[in-house]
Structures are given as C-alpha cells and as structure tokens.
C-alpha cells in the first residue's frame, strides 16, 4: 500500500507536477504494482550478491587526451532558450 502523502512526496522527488486525478490514479496503480512486487519478499536472498550489471567489466579507461567534441553552437542548437553561448533558465527563486 502507498498513501497519498507518499505519492506526493515521491512526485516532489521526481520533479513531476501531478494533478488531483493523476495523484489519485497513481495511488491505486502503484499500490497494486507494489503488492505484486512484494512477492519478492518470499525469496530467500540470504548471502546472495546483488547484480547491477551482467557484463563483467570494470573501469574501462581510455588515454587522457583531448579530442574534438560537439561545437558550442551545435550543443546549444536544440536548447529551449539559448543565450550568449549558454543555456538560460528561469531564476531559482520563486517570484513574489
């Protein structure tokens, strides 16, 4: 089970605006999905290592040499509000 308060908390962590309908739907849906997922608790995982990745690779490195990357203009080309060679964003302070 997941409560409305948790839904809103997770939405804040996720930086997602949810309207009333969405929040109430997610409350039901997430609860039902988590009920199913909770069956994992039946499995004995004592002493089992976690798998985050199936390929046995570590620290793939290349030589530390500079090489061309995207031009600044190209990198900015798709931005919603590029200005003076930078990405412009609204003020972090709420107005008023």
């Amino acid at each position: 089970m997941i409560e409305r308060e948790q839904v809103l908390h997770v939405a804040r962590l996720s930086r997602l605006k949810l309207d009333e309908d969405e929040a109430s739907r997610l409350e039901t849906e997430l609860s039902s999905i988590l009920d199913h997922v909770d069956r994992l608790a039946e499995i004995d995982i004592e002493g089992i290592e976690p798998t985050s990745h199936v390929v046995p690779l570590e620290n793939v490195l290349r030589d530390d040499v500079t090489r061309p990357s995207l031009d600044r203009e190209v990198a900015l080309d798709q931005a919603p509000d590029p200005v003076d060679g930078a990405f412009r964003v609204p003020s972090p302070q709420a107005e008023g």
Partner: protein, 487 residues
Amino acid sequence: MAETELLAATAAETAALIEGGQVSREECLSAWLERTAADDLNGYLWRADAESAVGTVDQDAGGPIAGVPLAIKDIFCTAGVPTTAASKILEGYRPPYDATAVARLASAGVPMLGKTNMDEFAMGSSNENSAYGPALNPWDRSRVPGGSSGGSAAVVAAGLAPWALGTDTGGSVRQPAAFCGVVGLKPTYGSISRYGMIAFASSLDQCGPITQDVTDAAMLLARLEGRDEMDSTSTGIEGGVVLPLAEDLKGLKFGIPADLVDEGVDPGVKAVFDRTVERIETLGGKVEMIELPHAKHGISAYYVLAPAEASTNLSRYDGVRYGQRASDKDLGSMYEDTRGDYFGPEVKRRIMLGTYALSSGYYDAYYGRAQRVRTKIVHDFDAAFSKVDFVITPTSSSVAFGLGEKTSDPLTMYMADLFTVPMSLAGIPAISIPAGMAAPEGGGEGAGGDMPVGFQIAAPAFGEQKLLEASFALEKAIDFDGGGGRI
C-alpha cells in the same frame, strides 16, 4: 526487374539483386520510399525523402548489405532527423549526431526509410503508450502490434520495410516480432553499442534486428555488433557472426522451463508451441524439462529495476538543454511543469515507481532485493545451460491482444513480458521466430481470424551463432507464411 519482386524480397535477397546488377541502389531506394507512403498503420513517425534517406550514408560503400534500406526505431539518435522516442517532451528534437548502430549501418551504405513508432521511451508492450497514437497490427488492425518496438515490427510484417532496428529492454524486440509474425533478435547485453540509443534502463537496454527471416537477422547483427569506445559496456561478439546454414538440430538439447511455461498460456499458443517442440525432435534435437525456479519472479524484479534505472535516466529531461520547456516561472516550477505536461502516463508511472524504489527507507526492500533476485535468475540460467544448449518458451502467452484491452490495468500489461523478461535480466541472447497461427482467446465481434504465434529460443551469453544456426534450421522446418501481414 519487376518492382513487386523487389518489394517482396528479404533483405538478403535484395542485397543479392543489387550485387547481381538486377536493380541499382537508387532504384531500390526510390521503390522503397514510394512504398513507405502506403503506411496507414501509423508505423512510421517520420518518413525519409530521397535526400534525407541518405543523409549520413556512405553511398560508395561496398559490402554485403550496401543499398538495402532500413527502418529505424525512433529511439535511435539520427543526425539532423527528428528523434522523439514517441514522447511529446522530445517533439521537434533533432540530434546533433548518429547513434553508433545507425552510424555503423550508414557507413555500410544502408539508407534510412524512416523512424518507427514505439511506446514512449520504450515503456510498454503494445505501442499504445506512444504520444503519437499506436501503430496497428497489419494482420488485424483492431489489435496491437506489441511493444515497445511495435512500429518496427509492423512495418516489416506489412512489407513497408525490408528490415528494421528495434530495442529490447524486457522483450521489446521479441514480443512485437511475435505479435506481427516476424523475427526479432535480442543479442547478448554488450554485443551492440548503446551510444545514441535513448536510455530507458541502461543495464538491460539492447539494440536488436527485426527482420523477415533468421538470415536477415544474422546479416544485420553481423554489421551491428562490435566494441565501441563510446559505450564502455559494449564488448562485441568474439569471432563475429556469419550467415547460418544448419539443416538439422542433431546433438542439441532444448530445455522447457516447466515452472515458467505453466503460468498460463492460451491453448492456441500452447498448441503451436507443442507442434514446434515436435519439429525440434523431428530435426534431431532432444527436448527435456528443466527448472528456472526464479524466472516467474522476473516480472517483479524487472518492474523494480527497470523503473529505478529509468527514473534516473529520465531526469535529463528538465527543459534546459533540449526538448520542450513548459513554463518560465521559477526554476523548480519549470522542471515540474515541463515534466508534468510533456511526459505521458506510463512514463510518469515508471518514474514514480522507480523513484519510490530508490528512495530512503525503501531502497533495500525494493531495489536491493530485486538486484539479488536478479542474481538468482542469472544462476538459474547458468544451471540450465549446464544441462541444455537452449531454453525454449512461447514468446508471449497470447497472440496480439485488442487495442485498449489491457490499458486500464498496468499490471496486466506488465505480465505480457513474463517469458521475455528473465532473459533480459540475465543479459543472454534470445530470438523470437514465427511458429504458426492461433485464434485469439475471446475472439470477439469483427475479429480478423488467426494471429501469428512466436517461439522463443534463448542461448548462453554470446551464443548468438549457435542460436542463429538452430533458429535457421527450425525456421525452415516451420515454413511460416507471413503473407497475411502484408498490406
């Protein structure tokens, strides 16, 4: 040569026609570009014209697949060409570079026919989560093509592309291939570079071919696989891949995971599966029951791990560097409005689920536990492959379901991946080949008759060549007729 012959050819046959001089690369491309205009399945989100089809393509390239055009799932970045991952948040986005998979094909002289429809950010099993409307199943337009690579499977089945690229995270190449009666191969994790493939769940995402037959899948994989320094998890396939030639299955052992397959398969699908098992035996293969005791928990583990990774990967859509921006109030509201307005319901659901599973107090109970169950599933496959060469299952427990049939309950939709998710969690290669036809359960008014059934074969990591050989021999014996999917 007759255009109908060209448009009915497999990719390998097309390559032979070009090589033999019966058709030029230009004639081939222009016939196919004209053909894609017949797409009334919403299979393509963007169709190329003569110029954009060859944008970054090396038109002088030699080699076995030069000139055979390809449809590309809209999750691959294509330089200067719209790439949306079927999301509103990327509407209008034109990437500054090609994904490595795309670049490898461009340098092999392969033109692009267009970008295919999919579930938004590859999250879905029916293509109904596309922000641009679902692609339709060409065998019966009241049914889904599967997902997430539904557009790619639909256009190949419909004869709107000789072959296509898809991606598979939990079944997104194999399940739509099964629903549309074509071949879908998910290679071993790491075989093909993920660079420029818009990330969903990075420890699971893998590019895979969707093709008319096994030979074409081998031909495409041979070009795609390889180490790429832009993706440090890519390894390629040692020894490469060659075209399969096997005629029988003598000396090979196939294992049926009884505990998984018992989870409720529709009778029509089960009948096709059983018939295919008999064919394996006729070809000299041995079939036995095996155990994958934790595979049935794959869905639960997957729907913790994949959303957890997705919630992290999708944090990049913040309205700052590319894509849409919703409002210009303060920064925090801009983030929340942008993501709230432009992500679809399934994407929000998974971001929420993943963020919850990773949040303080729940991390160990969900994410940590799911990672350990994943280890158990890996061990299950290790044990199975010490006894048999391949694991076989139906690709999906049902044939293609109706549009809207599963949209009201996310969990029902998630269960559509029951047979494909375990292989993804283990990172091993698996293929779906069309094995026959079955009537949909429930039928329903206006149902268009029998639908294709897929047969899944999985092999140990980097066992692609053996997998392709076995699939090739079995495909010949099945002799599936894909004609019913052509439009």
